[in-house]
Symmetry: C2
Subunit: 453 residues, 2 copies
């Protein structure tokens, strides 16, 4: 009996000691796993864990109140935890802030986090003397390969501090041709206002904004130099576009910011000589200021490189590191996750919006035909980034004011050089923004019904 007891004791004690050793090993191993990065990780997780009621988020570099980071709320939400909805607030559909993708990244927190060491890439140059990360370049080429949205073979690649910088760098590079008169920069109405704003603002001797491309259709065979911006899909109306001007003195800048499966069917890979993309509209990271250009001609590439170098000495290495991580996540499963999330979200919003306007005679939105998408390998319905809304009635000439009176901030069509019967509504903001916009639009359209009855 004593022996049996003794045996049991020994067994228990041995097991317990073995467990001790195992746990001790776990503790030591864990401690050994993380050293210098740990406090930054703890800090980031603490900030991320702050509840902002699903209507906001706290950031590491936000303001602090009583030692706690403050919630930054979505529009129309307020209070310490963003739980207070301010119903008198305007539904803001002005900016193209791509926050519709924020939930995707929150859901992919572990894959998409980056730890930046204090000594990370302090140098002006990468190991090969360039200012671009070869790994990032490789992932960007891969991204185009899997989405089949652009030809990258035989193309140089350039990074910009947002595509904004690349647009003006391209205009600069394409206008350096010893021509006696400045190159005429044009675009098709309606067009993204930044083209004109940049071209005018930098007051170069070599280029001048000259309005609508169509106005120059008959002169483009002449020896006048043209630079045409072609935005495809177009901002504001989401249509796939082709150049209006052709000829030996016409150069084209293809702005493909929205040429991703989120926003459009991809009928074929884009193949322009100068193609510009932005991270903002594929991953949604507008704040990171990262874009890239695919360039066919070496001379143009060299001149654009020089622009980027004398303007900002390349793109922040911190941003390049982060972009690499984000693109790695985007590439998981050949992009299926992010593009399905993006397309479904945008498609769903468009369907809701279409339903809202289906019974309206006062308002209309653009028609986009369903089209075969080589990425999804099926015909896909429209999912544009913006609604290009028309106030159909003669008395609603100032469409912006009509919407404003209904509590909606739109972007005035006049800014896109269209008639003021038009406004742009952004559909890519947060879900809160979209829901509130839809709410206000439904109210506006239902008024119409009420009046008709």
């Amino acid at each position: 009996m004593g022996k049996i007891h003794g045996f049991k004791y020994v067994l228990c004690l041995s097991s317990s000691i073995l467990l001790n050793l195992y746990l001790l090993d776990s503790v030591l191993r864990r401690d050994g796993e993380l050293t210098w990065s740990k406090s930054a990780a703890v800090e980031a997780e603490a900030v991320a864990s702050i509840s902002c009621s699903g209507h906001g988020r706290a950031f590491l570099d936000g303001l602090f109140s009583q030692g706690k980071p403050v919630c930054e709320c979505n529009s129309c939400y307020g209070g310490p935890d963003c739980s207070e909805f301010s119903s008198g607030c305007l539904a803001d559909a002005d900016s193209g802030n791509p926050l519709f993708l924020e939930p995707f990244w929150i859901a992919h927190a572990a894959d998409s986090a980056v730890v930046v060491a204090g000594w990370h890439r302090m140098s002006y140059i990468f190991d090969d003397g360039s200012s671009i990360s070869k790994e990032l370049e490789r992932h960007i080429r891969q991204l185009h390969a899997v989405t089949r949205n652009a030809v990258t073979e035989g193309r140089f690649i350039l990074f910009g501090t947002g595509s904004t910088q690349l647009l003006i760098a391209a205009v600069h590079a394409l206008s350096q041709d010893d021509s006696p008169s400045p190159a005429r920069v044009v675009a098709s109405i309606p067009f993204y206002p930044v083209y004109e704003m940049q071209t005018n603002f930098f007051r170069s001797m070599d280029f001048k904004f000259q309005g609508d491309a169509s106005d120059w259709k008959n002169t483009s065979g002449s020896s006048l130099n043209f630079i045409e911006f072609v935005t495809s899909p177009n901002n504001p109306d989401g249509q796939l576009k082709e150049p209006v001007l052709q000829g030996p003195f016409v150069k084209t800048i293809h702005d493909h910011a929205y040429y991703w499966p989120h926003f459009t069917a991809i009928p074929a890979p884009a193949n322009g000589d100068v193609m510009i993309f932005t991270m903002s509209k594929i991953t949604g990271h507008a704040g990171s200021r990262f874009g890239w250009a695919l360039i066919k001609d070496e001379g143009v590439y060299t001149r654009m490189s020089r622009y980027l170098s004398l303007n900002t000495m390349g793109v922040s290495r911190d941003t390049q590191l982060r972009a690499l991580k984000l693109f790695k996540v985007a590439l998981e499963g050949e992009g299926k996750e992010i593009f399905e999330f993006g397309y479904k979200t945008m498609r769903n919003r468009w369907e809701k919006l279409s339903k809202t306007f289906s019974g309206s005679t006062r308002f209309s939105i653009q028609k986009i035909a369903p089209r075969y998408c080589t990425y999804f390998e099926k015909i896909v319905g429209p999912s544009p980034a913006y609604a290009w809304l028309k106030c159909e009635r003669e008395e609603d000439k100032d469409c912006y004011a009509v919407l404003k009176a209904a509590g909606i901030i739109s972007r005035d069509g006049v800014l896109f050089k269209a008639e003021d019967h038009y406004v742009r509504l952004s559909l890519i903001k947060s879900q809160d923004d979209f829901d509130f916009l839809l709410n206000r639009l439904n109210a506006l359209v239902s008024e119409e019904g009420a009046k008709i009855i």
Copy 2:
């Protein structure tokens, strides 16, 4: 006896069980501490732990070979772990790559790491509608307050993608004055070549580079518009500078990139109307592309803001987050640690260099007088970022070639519009770079002695 044994067993078992409970709690608590940030932290630490023999480092976004990140070696070092010194290599003292601060950040790994969440600041704007982090702005003002190197009261602050962008934005803003002729942009020889390169490259209708400020001294009272770059301390020669031109039509851009205790005594806070600083020369993070401007006049501030917005839509939020963390570390102990590290390193290099040239009649370096520094509260000896070396002999007219023949890459004085008797030697690169440069310089100077004997 049996009882005593039994008691011992119970005691051992109880202790063991208690230890188990404690360890289990540790394991669980640890697991509970970090969730989504953990794999990024493990990844970053794994890369950081790769040994590159103290002559290089591996980066998270570097190339991989056999699943392991590749070491990126300092100049003249090679091999898989950077242990192979290539003695035939040239000592490269060309670029102003501020890697002398890299060891500081490696030593402050825990404080300076940042974890960037996948959803961090995706928006174009901060909560207040601006594109700058208020927390970062506050820390920058604090940095000037503790170093007493610039007045920030009553100044607007602007962020740029490196000071490079701010320099040209300032020229643009200061030249918008409805004058019929373009503003004349000038600087004092020897000056930083980028001023001229930018001014020429962007081919604006509103400004034109017009060389040496001194050439215009007698005309600056007239109604000609001037924009003078004043670099203090000067690049290349480290001297504290004052504007050459004065008058109602003269505007001054004070480039204070090097106005930090690392490189110069701080006699008094700088107080110019337009002052430009860069993170590159205070923390050493050239690759992050972050600079800021302190602006007195609201009109100039507004025009520069517009430039930055139409050029790049502000500075990457990833960079702003990182800059905040780095400045927090720099501010520890009122900057004592970083500035003592910086000053000691630079002072030590300068002393060694001075010793090398002390016996030379063939070469001379600039003289900088010791001066009272309000930051260190004592007289400090010179610690400039660059040596401005003169080849004194008539036959050594091409000083760049003389050094090249001795295995040293310098930056030709001609680039700074000086005579070619001059070259600039960068003293702010890595310790390896400096040691090798000194080695080559000692050999060159000792030749001189040998020939005299």
